[in-house]
Symmetry: C2
């Protein structure tokens, strides 16, 4: 895969799209079998909807593969170039990581997306989809894997696992597998993280905060807090905790609580906020409870804080480093919040729900990482790339520089030239 050209990769993407269209009947039949089994097992409607792979999902997959083929090649980009000496040219060049395992639950369309990203990035992949989508995944991966090989990718570029036992074995093979990206429930991702010897990129928790500062515009604050909580409460970037500055809590809390409650949100209140808004339906006194709960539901914790510093300290202590927002007017206040909150995404006067690869304009989202190494926050195809150092000389040896016969020039040069150009 490391030496696959852009032409081959794009041909593989287009052939995979064509084969999906040609073999739609077989895919739909496989999906019907999965749906029948899921209905028989009494799966709830939202999970059935995620499991379905019909004409609309197929068209989306085909369009996604076509869009990937149209993108520039993420491999072979010169990220940095330096002439170390006459005839001795160093370049740092992007390249695929190698073998990436993508482990996810349910959604069969994710399998096609991951396979497409693997082709374009030049990585070999191993995919493991949800057991409920067993027949659909098998049909899709067989079509896409075959199209890749027929277009010139090496045999075995796409591997599929089907059981949890196979995943457990894979997570021990750190000498072969470079990276695991799990997507799914908290418990699922945490289990992968806890048991893997292979590096894992992703996030288990999304305990996101909105902090309403003393100088906030209260209409804006209500709009942002409510959108952050209810626009899609099961998402990892939905807010779970509202922090309100004590200086405006008396005015702000009734307004914020009214907005949230009219959207159907139940509230767990600290003793100070409970004292300010009083009892009511759906309100409970949280007191000194656990501030790291990810509700993923129409439920939110509320706490009064005495200062910007206390808000930052609360978030850094109880948050998950995912996405946190401040609503405030003064730019200096926003700057301090955004610098000192140690999270992947830090927002000023915007809903936490914007933390997403598509909304960030990254194209397909490979995942969202709450780790700080390699990739942080929403990651696009760049998360599947690494780099290597390429040095081209004309017989250069270090002894000449150690003896002082030669001295390094270390001249940075324009990195926009193509990789593979001749010597400079």
């Amino acid at each position: 895969m490391l030496s696959t050209t852009r032409t081959t990769k794009d041909a593989a993407l287009r052939l995979a799209a064509a084969r999906l269209r040609e073999n739609r009947a077989a895919v739909f039949a496989a999906n019907e079998a999965d749906l029948d089994a899921a209905r028989a097992a009494g799966l709830p409607a939202p999970l059935l909807a995620r499991l379905g792979y019909g004409e609309k999902k197929l068209q989306e997959s085909v369009a996604m593969l076509g869009a990937l083929a149209a993108l520039p090649d993420p491999a072979g980009r010169v990220l940095e170039a330096r002439r170390l000496d006459t005839g001795l040219l160093l370049r740092r060049v992007s390249c695929p990581i190698g073998l990436v395992a993508l482990v996810f639950e349910s959604r069969p369309d994710a399998l096609v997306q991951m396979a497409g990203l693997a082709i374009k990035s030049g990585n070999a992949i191993i995919v493991k989809g949800g057991r409920e989508a067993e027949h659909t995944n098998r049909a899709l991966s067989s079509i896409v894997a075959g199209a890749g090989v027929d277009a010139g990718l090496p045999d075995g570029w796409l591997g599929q696992l089907e059981t949890r036992g196979e995943v457990a074995e894979l997570l021990a093979l750190d000498q072969y597998v470079d990276l695991v990206i799990p997507r799914g429930s908290n418990e699922f991702v945490r289990h992968i993280k806890d048991t893997s010897r292979v590096p894992v990129l992703g996030h288990a928790d999304g305990v996101c905060h909105v902090y309403v500062h003393a100088d906030a515009d209260l209409d804006m604050a209500a709009r942002i807090v409510t959108d952050s909580k209810v626009q899609y409460p099961v998402a990892c970037n939905a807010a779970e905790v509202l922090l309100v500055d004590a200086a405006i809590a008396g005015r702000a809390l009734p307004r914020l609580v009214a907005s949230l409650e009219s959207a159907g949100v139940a509230l767990e209140l600290c003793s100070r906020s409970y004292a300010l808004v009083g009892a009511g339906p759906g309100r409970v006194l949280k007191g000194d409870g656990d501030w790291s709960v990810e509700y993923l539901d129409y439920r939110m914790a509320v706490r009064v804080v005495d200062s910007l510093e206390e808000a930052i300290a609360h978030i850094n202590r109880y948050g998950s480093g995912h996405t946190d927002a401040i609503v405030c007017t003064m730019p200096e206040t926003a700057r301090r919040f955004m610098d000192e909150v140690d999270s992947a995404s830090v927002f000023h006067n915007a809903s936490t729900r914007f933390a997403d690869g598509y909304r960030y304009g990254l194209g397909a989202e490979v995942g969202i990482s709450t780790g700080k190494l390699h990739a942080r926050g929403p990651m696009g195809m760049d998360g599947l790339m690494t780099y290597k150092w390429k040095l081209e000389g004309h017989g250069h040896v270090v002894a000449d520089y150690a003896s002082g016969t030669k001295v390094f020039e270390h001249a940075d040069i324009d990195a926009s030239m193509e990789a593979g150009d001749g010597h400079l």
Copy 2:
């Protein structure tokens, strides 16, 4: 540390340099105590030299701290900027990783270098030096830590561990420590990698290769192979294995062997190369032995391979992903080698010994990573940096985009503006 300004960081570096000069007598006395103990324990001369911290080393430390103060701030660089919509600006901004542990053996000057890099990058650090340098390290870290605090860094920005038990405890604290960078012997680094829950960047092995292709210039090949082996054999980037193409082995091997043997290198030969060069002093028949040995000595393994493909396969199977070089004339041959060898550094017609942060022009070298995530190969201060996503809006909510009331613009904008600029 996350919000420390460039002014404070550079003042801390300069104050640390001044305090080192002022307190040189105490440092030298502490170093004498370490040297006395080391001599009493019978430490060999090269280790005593590494342990010594006299006037010359102190001047180097002072110069290094001054050079760091003169560098641009690695934090706050805008790496990517995109207007998501009117008044909604997304920026990806470099920032320190957080808390980094630097664990190394012996050399007390490394402690000052690591502390300087931590200040400039804005990371809090925990250092653990070698037990032999106990008194010197204690004196140096106390001077540098105090200078940092006096210049405005937060108390506790530099922590020091002294025992292996403390290191073992630290490696379990993945909720607090973001990264461990170990430097030292293979066994030492491998032990850290095997026992750490905290991510580790570094390299345990340097099994580097030079492959002499069929169309190689033999004078150049002899020069590169010999420099790669003997210029400093104990370095991780010294070559351990010579691969020679069968098509020229009959002509090339006598020439290469003569060059290596005249530099004092003992050879372990595969059966084909042994048949070609015959028996001799310092030559042993390796046969089908272990091809992954890191000699770190005047000793090299030699193998005849039948093709470029076999050379690449050998390196990818037995190498350590550190640094590998080809000597050849045809650019297309070099391109294939450099694309398909899965190592951090891949060289054409240059000695493996160039794989080094200083020679690459990276400034101070934080370490060399053979992993593929976050940083690969020689890493400079960039290895201590991550990034966060900063989104600045004016009350923007996702509901407007979900309903179609607003649409994303996703306009890439010039990222060269300063972080902290106002809204666009």
